[in-house]
């Protein structure tokens, strides 16, 4: 069941889809990510990386959001085929 392997969101490639399992960040950033929709079970899709490789653009809850690697590495996801 490689599908259920937990990986940080930052490891997803453009075009990949994932399902949020856990937000590991603490403090204000945790609250911010929760508010923006990173809650358990939510599907997201990585759209692209910025021209310089960071931040990443993703689609979550029907809107587009960008996150730095610093933040996206704190979000654990399942890869979804």
């Amino acid at each position: 069941m490689t599908q259920n392997l937990l990986i940080p969101l930052s490891d997803l490639q453009p075009g990949d889809q994932g399902e949020v399992v856990q937000v590991k960040a603490q403090g204000p950033i945790r609250q911010r990510l929760l508010e923006m929709g990173f809650i358990r079970g939510v599907r997201l899709r990585v759209e692209k990386l910025a021209p310089l490789g960071d931040p990443m653009e993703l689609v979550i809850k029907g809107y587009h959001l960008s996150l730095r690697r610093d933040e996206s590495s704190c979000i654990l996801v399942h890869r979804v085929a």
Binding site: V23, P28, I29, R30, Q31, R32, L33, L34, E35, M36, G37, I39, R40, V42, K48, L49, A50, P51, L52, G53, D54, P55, E57, K61, G62, Y63, H64, L65, S66, L67, R68, D70, E71
Partner: protein, 723 residues
């Protein structure tokens, strides 16, 4: 009858457009008390009621974790607010409803605006308004804010609510599930022990914030006499919920809120088409891996040219107009103190303020345009990696680049940066970016002491030095002022939209008038002070004035050809002014202060005239280009070159008499780059950073850093064998 309406909603939901549509031009812009978050309020009249609308900063939540959220949360909880108007972006309903779940907890009547319904329709989303009204427990008005559709209906609804017709409002709250509701009830009971605390905000709202571990709510509780009981209950609640539901309070509550929003959207809206939206087609080009950066550079170049090349045309008219005015006044009025106050103090002072207005308005207009289209977020997305390395935010890039035109609007442009830390750092380092006024000083100095090729190198070097220092100071300030990691970068990339030109125009007008009223007074006061220091006591010396008048009459009596008479009169005037300035308070200060600058401007103690540089630099506080005109007066040599000569008389005087060497000239340039922001910039820092303290800090670090680097220039230059 009057009513205060708080306009709340997510960023990019079209709130400000709606605010403009509701209030028209009748609105007031200021800052919220104690913070540099913009506060807009306006009124409109409808069916005999006067309704006040306060536009809150756009926020995703009321968790009070950022300055914007704190302002919004505090105002919404205050008794001042009678009605909350929640603006929802119809094309992004679910995330927008997260904030609504919090607004509903506040216990105030909430009305909803479903904005940009056209966008939603285009994406194939149809929303059942009647069902939405029922599920939200408040009236819902569909609008297209940028086409003013639905505005009359909205106004009528608000007027009806002002008359007390709230039959369409029912109290709806999110159901957090059996376990959480149980803990909420227990917390509410404990909160109820303190009547004052209970009255300050709805107990349920406070209990929710406590479960979310909200620092502001906890602080509020510590002041209560029931704080111990509440604290104990909170610990118990956490101990029960976490193992029981497998997550902490904040996660659980966010999940339930999104659960409510998700369920509601499923009920009332059809699913969006999966086809590619215009936004994703545009983004395929605009944030493309290869094209993104070149396009960004192109847009930046366009904005820059519009602001500083096109903007220079009205700027020159204004400067020329004021020059003509002061020339006119000088020719008509008798020489003396009052004339000098008018000609050398007031008129240049007013001019120094007004010349900024065209540039500010054009640049702010461009930035508002880019922001309203949604491109600004893409610009930050593209540049963030680079800026992050420097300890800044992607959105800091534009202010820094625009700083090379003029620091004043660049600092204003930092408003687009949401995080207060990033914004403050950007504001504090922008003055290091070499602006076009400083360029005029470099041109005179480098043109005098270097060959044209080396002069160009030196001038380009100054610009890179400025940018490099801004980056370095940015990193240093971040680690010195703010501990911990840099603020998170979680930025929405909103759909591209056509901006409303009226909103852009209103924005330009606001920025221009704010500058005139807030910064204008500071600049004007400073300019008058510098005039006083550089003219007294000489200007009050009757004997000198009489002598000068006699000399003028003598020249006019010679009946020479007109051009020669004019030249001689000009020379006389320059001599007279030079006499006054060189014996002024500023000159005395300069002589006293020149030992301080000796290591950088006179390392060999061979320059008896080094104090003159000090006067010129002091005058440069007003505006950097004044350094040149002051030098012209001090050295009694015009800064306009005669026809067919490469060097102006001022440059010849500097070369032959000032005692500056190429090396000390370079040190002078370095010092000019860094030593202090001009008055306009200082006034703008004070306004945008919110205190005189930060403005003073910028001047102080500039002086220290400028001195240090000029000294390094001299020492390193000599070590390498230059003189």
């Amino acid at each position: 009858m009057s009513l205060t309406i708080a306009l709340a909603g997510n960023p990019n939901c079209g709130k400000t457009t709606l605010f403009n549509a509701l209030t028209g031009a009748r609105h007031h812009v200021g800052n919220w008390p104690g913070v540099t978050v913009e506060r807009r309020s306006g009124t409109f009249e409808q069916e005999g009621s006067t309704l006040e609308v306060v536009d809150l900063p756009g926020t995703y939540s009321l968790a009070a974790r950022s300055e914007d959220e704190r302002v919004a949360a505090k105002f919404l909880a205050s008794p001042e607010v009678d009605l909350v108007l929640n603006v929802l972006d119809a094309s992004n309903l679910e995330r927008n409803l997260y904030l609504s779940t919090q607004l509903l907890e506040l216990g105030k009547p909430v009305a909803f605006v479903l904005n940009m319904v056209d966008d939603a329709e285009n994406r194939g989303v149809h929303i059942d308004l009647a069902a939405l009204e029922t599920l939200l427990g408040g009236p819902v008005i569909p609008t297209v804010g940028n086409r003013e559709q639905g505005i009359p209906e909205l106004k009528a609804l608000l007027a009806a609510m002002a008359r007390g017709e709230t039959s369409r409002c029912r109290r709806i709250t999110v159901d957090y599930g059996h376990d959480i509701e149980g803990e909420l009830a227990k917390l509410e009971t404990e909160i109820g022990r303190d009547e004052q605390l209970e009255a300050s905000m709805p107990p349920r709202w406070l209990a929710l914030q406590l479960l979310e571990n909200n620092a502001d709510a906890k602080r509020l509780v510590t002041e209560s006499h029931a704080s111990e009981a509440i604290g104990q209950q909170l610990t118990k609640s956490f101990a029960f919920l976490e193992p029981h539901l497998g997550a902490d309070g904040a996660t659980l509550i966010a999940e339930r809120r999104y659960g409510f929003a998700h369920g509601l959207v499923k009920e009332v809206a059809s699913a969006a088409d999966d086809r590619r939206t215009p936004t994703s087609r545009l983004d395929a080009v605009l944030t493309n891996r290869w094209l993104g950066i070149p396009i960004f550079v192109g847009i930046l170049a366009l904005v820059y040219s519009l602001s500083f090349i096109l903007g220079k045309i009205p700027q020159d008219w204004i400067a020329e107009g004021f020059k003509a005015l002061s020339g006119f006044a000088e020719a008509r009025l008798p020489a003396g103190e009052l004339t000098s106050l008018l000609v050398d103090g007031v008129i240049p002072g007013v001019s120094a303020v007004i010349v900024f207005v065209p540039v500010i308005m054009i640049l702010m207009g461009c930035i508002a345009f880019l922001e309203d289209t949604g491109y600004m977020a893409r610009a930050a997305f593209i540049m963030d990696r680079l800026m992050h390395v420097m300890g800044l935010h992607g959105k800091s890039f534009i202010p820094l680049i625009m700083g090379s035109g003029c620091n004043v609007p660049a600092i204003q442009a930092a408003r687009t940066i949401e995080s207060p830390q990033d914004r403050l750092i950007t504001i504090l380092v922008t003055p290091l970016v070499s602006c076009s006024a400083r360029l005029q000083v470099y041109i005179v100095i480098a043109g005098t002491f270097f060959t044209p090729f080396k002069a160009a190198l030196a001038i380009i070097g100054m610009h890179f030095l400025g940018l490099g220092l801004a980056v370095l100071m940015g990193r240093m300030l971040r680690s010195a002022l703010f501990h911990g990691p840099s603020s998170p970068f979680v930025m929405e990339l909103p759909p591209y939209r056509l901006p409303v030109l009226r909103a852009t125009a209103i924005h330009m007008w606001e920025k221009g008038s704010i500058f005139l009223t807030r910064a204008g007074t500071t600049i004007f006061a400073g300019a008058t002070l510098i005039w006083f220091l550089s003219r007294y006591p000489g200007i009050a010396n009757r004997e000198w004035t009489a002598q000068y008048q006699d000399q003028r009459l003598a020249v006019q009596a010679l009946k020479l050809p007109a051009t020669e008479t004019e030249d001689r009169l000009k020379a006389l005037q320059l001599a007279h002014e030079s006499h006054i300035v060189n014996t002024s308070l500023a000159a005395r200060l300069g002589q006293k202060a020149s030992p301080l600058l000796q290591p950088i401007l006179d390392p060999d103690h061979k320059r008896p005239e080094a104090w003159k540089d000090v006067i010129a630099l002091t005058a440069g506080f007003v505006a950097k280009e004044i350094v040149v005109s002051t030098m012209a007066v001090i050295h009694q040599a015009s800064d306009e070159p005669k026809v067919g000569e490469r060097l102006s008389p001022l440059q010849v005087a500097l070369r032959d008499n000032s005692g500056l060497s190429p090396l000390t000239a370079l040190a002078f340039m370095v010092f000019t780059l860094i030593y202090t922001p001009c008055l306009g910039t200082i006034a703008m820092i004070r306004r945008e950073a919110g205190s005189w303290g930060w403005a003073g800090f910028t001047v102080a670090y500039g002086l220290v850093l400028g001195w240090g680097l000029a000294w390094v220039t001299v020492v390193a230059g000599r070590w390498m064998g230059f003189v």
